[in-house]
Structure formats: C-alpha cells, structure tokens
Amino acid sequence: MKIKALPLKNGLKDFANTVSTIPARLGDVAKASDTLPLPTDSFQVNKVARALHPKEQPLTVTKVEDVTDDFKRYYLKSENGRTAYFRAGQYISITLKIGESLCTRAYSLASSPKEALKNEYCIAVKRAAGGFVSDYILDNVKEGDTLTSYAPEGTFVYEPLRDAKTVIGVAGGSGITPFLSLAKAIDERSENLNLILLYGARTEKDLAFKKELDSIAENNGSFKVVYVLSESKAKGFEHGFIGADLIKKYAPKGEYSVFACGPAAMYKFLKGEIEKLGLKKKYVRFEMQGTANGEAKSGETYKMTVINRGETSEFTCRGDETVLTALERAGVPVPVRCRSGECGFCRSKLVSGEVYIDESADYRRIADARFGYIHPCCSFPVSDITIKIN
C-alpha cells in the first residue's frame, strides 16, 4: 500500500536533507586526520588481552629443586620479560624436541598468580611409568635451559558464580600442583574460598610440598590439608584411598564442590565414590591432565598421510597410540595444549580413514564431528589415515 500523504515535512526539503548527508560524509572524511591511527595494541583492553594470552612464552629455568625422590620443582622466568598472569588451577604447555620427536605436555602451574607478576612460574614434574617426556625433563632439563611454552590455559579453576564456597580438593601424585597454587592463591588473597585438601600418597616420604602446605594451613583458616597414606599408617595421617567416607568426614554441613586432580587409577576409583555422595553435577570437577584419551582398539601399524599447508608427508601410526602421539613421534609441529580432548587446539581434518574416539573424551563441536574433524589427542587409528593438520 502506498501512502499518498505522508505526515512528514515538505517532501523536497526532506529529500534535500537526505542528499545533503552525502557531501557531509565526504566533508567529514576531508576534515579527518591523515595520520594512521595506532594499531589495536594501543587500547587498554587489547593490551590486557595480549598480556594474558601471549602467543608464546619462552621460559628459562632459573632453579631446579628436588621435592621428593621422583619429583622436581622447576622455577621458570619468561624471556618476554613477564610471565602471563593466570588463575590458580591453570596449566602451561611445554614443547620439547626429544630426538626426532616434537612433544607437547601440559603442566599445572604450582606457583601463585601473584608470583607470575614478578616473572616467575613454577611447575613440578614427577617420574611416571612410561613417562617419555617427564623422564626426559627430569634427566636433562637444567638451570639456564629455555623451553618453548605458551599462554596459561584451562578451566580447572575456582569460579564463585558456579562452585560452592567450600571446595574439597582431592589430589594424588603430581595432581597436587594445581592445589598448591590454589592454596597459595588463598593465602595471598587472589582467591576467596575455603579449600579442604585431601592429599593421597603411598607413604609419608612421597608427600610433596608438605612443609609449604602445612605452613599455609597454619596461617590461614580458609585452607586445611589432610594427608591420606595408602601404604603406611602413621599418627596424624588418614589411611587408605580417598573415597566417599573420607570426603564426608571432612565436608561441611552445607553444599560443597569436589575438585579432583590425579592419575587415571585414582579417577577410576574416585568417580564411583563421588557418585555415592549424590552431588549435583555442577559441584564435581576433574582436571583431565591428559588422562582422558580412552583405550586403544588395536595394536596394528597403519599408514599415516599428513597434509600440512599443501605439503604431503607419509608416516606410520599405531592402533594402540593416539594420532597425536604418532604426529609427535614423526616430529610434525601440531598446535597442542591440553592433550585431553577438551581444548580443541589440535583439531584437524580426518580426510580419509577411520579412528576410534572414546565417548568420554569426545569434546568435539557437533559440526566438527559431522564434517570429519577430530581431536588427534584422543583419537586412535583403526585403519590407514590421511589427516590435514593445517
């Protein structure tokens, strides 16, 4: 329907009004400065983004310290001049060239967020059965070495809008490191929660950072630590494995969250135990630490064709290892962070062939699964494969 008499002003004047904005536009352009504005880095929010998420952080080892017989702490400083700030519970990934292999591993930061502002991170590395990279670090990395690393990542953090005010931390083995960071964060007041830490080890001498943890607990009412020994009994220590009963014993009356970080064997037991507690899903969080990659389906060797920026190379891969392990073994540079399926950095296109992905480790986007993308860190080849990484 056409409106004959639009109740606006005089038609010609209105038309002139519209047309006049066009020279006005050109006039504004003519008046503007002809000096290029500064790049985005000049804005405060862009500066903060860049400082929190540097592309790379070359980290130099400033000190190596024995923690227990098979556990060492590495003090690191960034060659960027500052280590990026982070949230207690986050990790950094380190890429190492070991022989022909190019391996990336995630290590939870064991230092406090405020220490990062003084250009210091700490990670702790524990010797593990079949731990190719941890063994290499423990035996080779020394003061003065510089390691390739990236920005802190990870969602194993305390979030008051989501978590209960009291967190029961369950730590086993090297899984103590994010909790050490969290305890320090409570102590320096960069985090505000009550942390009750249940820390399991075989014997007293396997407990790492005991002095530091005890000292924080002594000075700070918001942090409490309970040591749980599985292979020895001693006064002042709980005995056995950390399960539902022990959690209940130390839990507060009201609501609480459970955060767990430790080896796969611990999770296997703990998951069943936590179910007994009847907690809401939102109150249970696991740090996967590269443990969630499922189980292999076959031990056969297959052909692996890798496409990277238009170049094709051929390697082999094995049914009992993830596609990522095969890529690392082949020395192919792949962007990797968590190795648990979650972060998606290694997302690549499976051009042909088949892989097995355990449902528990499948954090792919719906469309990625549909369009043939995989996270190589938790995909096991079950045929010859062609994979496009870039």
Partner: protein, 518 residues
C-alpha cells in the same frame, strides 16, 4: 611447487568464507588463510562440559521468511551450494522486552510477522493500528529503495523520477533519525517502545540513529523473521569451508598473514608470519579494516584518503557475553521466551548514557537457546546467553591483568541479578558451566580495536546510507578488496556474508575487464 594463486583471501571469517567459496565456484585458484585453528571468526562455538555454546550468532535473517520463501542470504547459500549442509529453525517470537525501571513497568512480548506484530501492538496500545501500518509501509519501501539505490551506477533523470515516484517515503525519511520519524507520525509511547525495542541490538540512541538503517534491520527480523542453525553457527562456517574445499580451494588454518604485499599501488600477494611469500593476482582481506590499514599494509602504501576515512569513523559498541549451562530445564526455571531484551529504561537517549559504564549499564539481550532449539542441551538442562552492549570507549579502560577476572565476574554477577529481577526466575544456583566474555575477549580472539563487536559506528555521516552512497569514491589500492564487518553495510552476520560475496564479484568483474584489455 607453484605458490601463485589467482586470489589469496586473508581470514576465514564470514566474509572471507563467502568470498573464497564464490571465487572457487567460478573456477579461480584460491588460497584461504586463517590464523585461528578453525573457520568462522565470530560464527563459532565452544564446548564446556556437556554444553556446546554458540559464540555470537543468536538470530540470523535473510534465510526466511519462515523458511518458505528464500531470503537473499538463502539464495546466496543456495548458489554457493551450502544450503543442504545446514539445518535451520525458524523463530516465531521477535522478542520480549522488559524494563528494570519500576515506574515504567514495561513487559511486551512481540511476535514475528507484520500483521501479528501490529495486532500485538494494538493490544498494548489500543488505536495504534493506523500508525503501525504507516510505519510498516515506510519500512518496506525504504528497504526496496535502498536495494534500488545499490543497483544504480549512473545518475539520470529517469532514476530521479523513479526515486521520487516509487520511493518517495524512503527518500523523505532517509535523512532523519528514528525519533524524528516517530515524532512526524505522532506515534504514541507504547508504539515507539515496541518498534524501538530492537535498538539494543545496536546499543544506540534513537535520537541519533538513522531511521532507514534501524528499520532495515527491523524489517529483516520482524517482517521476514529470524532463523537459527540447529547445531550452532559453527555448522555454517564448516559448511562454507567444506564446500570451498570441494570446489578445489585450498585452506590453511593456523596460518597468520604478516603483510599484504603492494607494488606500484597494486596488491601482489602476502607474506606469512613465518616469512613465506605467496604471490597472487588479487587479495581479499577479511581481517578487520582497522587492522588491514594499521598492521597488514606498510604505512607508505595506504592512500591518504583511506586513512582519513578510517579516522572519520568511530568504533561501534563493545560486547560483553555470559554463557551459562544450567542444570535444570527452562520449564522448571520459568524461562519461557527465546529472546529477552532487558533495559534500564525504554528511553533510548537515557539508556545510551547508562551503557557507557559498568556501574550504570543494565541493558541486556538474553537468549534461551532451548526455546528455539529444544534439544540443544541434554535433557533437564538449559543454555542461556546474556549479552550486554557498551557504548563509548571508556567502559573497560580500568581493567588490568590482575583485576580482570574479578572485574568481569562482578559485572556478570550484576547481569545475572538483573535477569532474575526482570524475569522473576532463579538461575544462580543452577549454573553448571559459565564463561564470561568481555571486550578483552573480543580483543583477544578478533583483534578487535577496543574490543568492539560491531566494527564502525553507524551514526551521523557514517550511516549506512551515506556509506553505500560514497564508499566507491576515492583512491584505493588496486586488486585489494575488503570483505567483512567493517565494510559498507556495517557489521552483523548478513552484511559480513554479503560483503564477501560482493568482494568476490568485484574481483571477478575486474578479472574480466583485465582479460578483455589484454
């Protein structure tokens, strides 16, 4: 190995993807470069726990109306051959608008479709049918007029006759603001509030916002109706990339471009961050225009006129988004609508002042995805997004590395409180997963200047009508084309997709010309 391409496309954002797909469809040898590890730019998603969150696309226009008539975007997707890879869901509800101001007491729920919308406004404001109809008539004519204007290459007497004859309402209103046109029509307050309810989308003041620009957007939402992709916008990005590859295009992820190489004012290829040089006859740039001029081109090669144009632009609003996975169903929570607009006040001039700072900003657009896509999350759970818009350039200038997490959480807390207050629901205790995106997040992922999510502002002489009419003017770098949200038709999904397609058409047109002159 030959590294020479017909066209290098920088960035697999929405504009880059459509440009690359169109060029590949026409048989060109195209290399698409993306610095991230996946395509889509803002059209993406991420997984937390048992939820897959949409990053930014909450409604898309130009696919419908109502999935029965092909919109412009749908036609483009058909031509590019991606439509069969994407499943759409049409939304019936336009929005529910609630104000936090207790005295205003506004709570309007408005449907999609011209007649349904007018009926509902009549319910809220008896006797408003005439004004509503007049508004819709101008809106429809403006849209047609703007399209017509876009097709004009040379001005002649016939064209003026046609403009004055067929599009007089468009021409008469195009120079005015939304409120000036409301005034001229003596629109009652409730009509203004209902028709003006979408202004949040732009975080803008209706005393300044161009009538034509605002209502071009309004038309696509309310008259044609929005849709959403069933499995988040990553499916659109993936479909475009997969089609591009099917057509023989080459796409490299994790590959950042350092420079666009220009010789004698002509783009001749790019240099990658790793130092590798790639030659091409044409370059299409989908990086933010701001970054194209300040980072990707050498200072000396940027024409002064383009620098002035950049400096005459203001940065559009900045974004804040809350992504919530709730452990209870929307029914149990009492979240009944798909799309909520919650404002401090319906007075847009006042609201535009309030959106300048975190302390006063109560504006939010909340989307409950389950009320559009019921099975988007596991049974008994809810996905809720809440977006706030910040105007001005100051709102987040006090953030530091150290205070950032607390600052963003504090604002998120207020956003949740406002949502609960406006809707009478309780969501806080049900938060199972949460992510908070701020201007810092958009700066991180998009390298957006000051964290803007809408490119350049649309007001005054930088309005979309003025841009359409003048963007072809002035010296440019030859064989370098721009695609993306900082372009002529401003930022948003539709303009971004169509800008890429247009860039490809311009490249193809130029190739043809060059071919003829050889």
């Amino acid at each position: 190995m030959s590294k020479k391409y017909d066209v290098v496309v920088i960035g697999a954002g929405n504009g880059g993807l459509t440009a690359a797909a169109k060029l590949a469809l026409e048989g060109k040898k195209v290399l698409l470069l993306e610095k991230h590890n996946l395509p889509g730019g803002s059209a993406t998603s991420f997984v937390r726990g048992r939820f897959e969150f949409e990053a930014s696309l909450h409604e898309l226009c130009g696919i419908g109306p109502e999935l029965t008539v092909d919109g412009e975007l749908k036609k483009m997707f058909d031509e590019l051959g991606v439509s069969e890879k994407i499943e759409w869901i049409a939304l019936k509800e336009a929005f529910r608008m609630i104000t936090l101001d207790d005295e205003e007491n506004i709570d309007y729920t408005l449907p999609v479709g011209r007649e349904a919308f007018i009926d509902k406004v009549e319910e809220y404001c008896p006797g408003s049918r005439g004004v509503s109809n007049a508004l819709f008539d101008i809106i429809e004519e403006s849209n047609a007029g703007l399209d017509y204007l876009g097709t004009i290459t040379d001005f002649s007497t016939d064209i003026f006759k046609k403009i004055f004859g067929e599009y007089s309402d468009f021409i008469n209103t195009a120079g005015y603001t939304v409120n000036e046109v409301f005034d001229a029509l003596n629109a009652p307050k409730a009509v203004r509030d209902c028709f003006g309810g979408y202004w949040l989308y732009l975080g803008t003041n209706l005393d300044e916002e161009s009538f034509t620009h605002y209502f071009t957007m309004f038309k696509s939402y309310v008259i044609d109706g929005p849709v959403i992709p069933k499995s988040r916008s990553h499916v659109i990005s993936s479909a475009l990339l997969s089609r591009f590859e099917e057509l023989g295009g080459e796409a490299w992820m994790n590959t950042a471009v350092k420079k666009i190489n220009v010789i004698n004012n002509k783009a001749v290829g790019v240099t990658l961050e790793n130092g590798e040089m790639i030659e091409s006859d044409y370059v299409v740039c989908n990086a933010a225009a701001y970054n194209m001029y300040t980072k990707l081109l050498d200072k000396e090669v940027v024409p002064k006129f383009q620098i002035k144009k950049l400096n005459s632009a203001k940065l559009a609003p900045k974004g804040f988004s809350l992504f919530l996975g709730l452990d209870t169903s929307p029914e149990e929570l009492g979240i009944t609508n798909h799309s909520y607009f919650i404002y401090n006040t319906a007075d847009s001039a006042k609201q535009a002042q309030l959106t300048k700072s975190r302390a006063t900003n109560g504006l939010q657009a909340a989307v409950c995805l389950n009320n559009g896509v019921p099975d988007c999350s596991p049974e008994g759970t809810t996905i809720l997004y809440i977006t706030a818009i910040f105007t001005g350039d100051e709102a987040w200038n006090d953030v530091t590395e150290e205070n950032y997490v607390n600052v963003k959480r504090e604002f998120a807390d207020k956003v949740i409180e406002n949502f609960e207050k406006a809707t009478g629901t309780k969501i806080r205790e049900h938060i199972e997963e949460i992510e908070i995106a701020t201007p810092v997040t958009y700066a991180r992922y998009l390298d957006a200047p000051n964290g803007t999510i809408y490119g350049f502002e649309n007001t005054g002489s930088y309005g979309v009508v003025q841009r359409v009419a003048t963007d072809a003017i002035g010296p440019k770098i030859a064989n370098l084309y721009y695609a993306g949200g900082y372009g002529t038709r401003s930022l948003g999904f539709n303009p971004a997709y169509s800008s890429g397609y247009e860039a490809a058409q311009n490249v193809l047109g130029n190739m043809k010309k060059e071919g003829q002159s050889k």
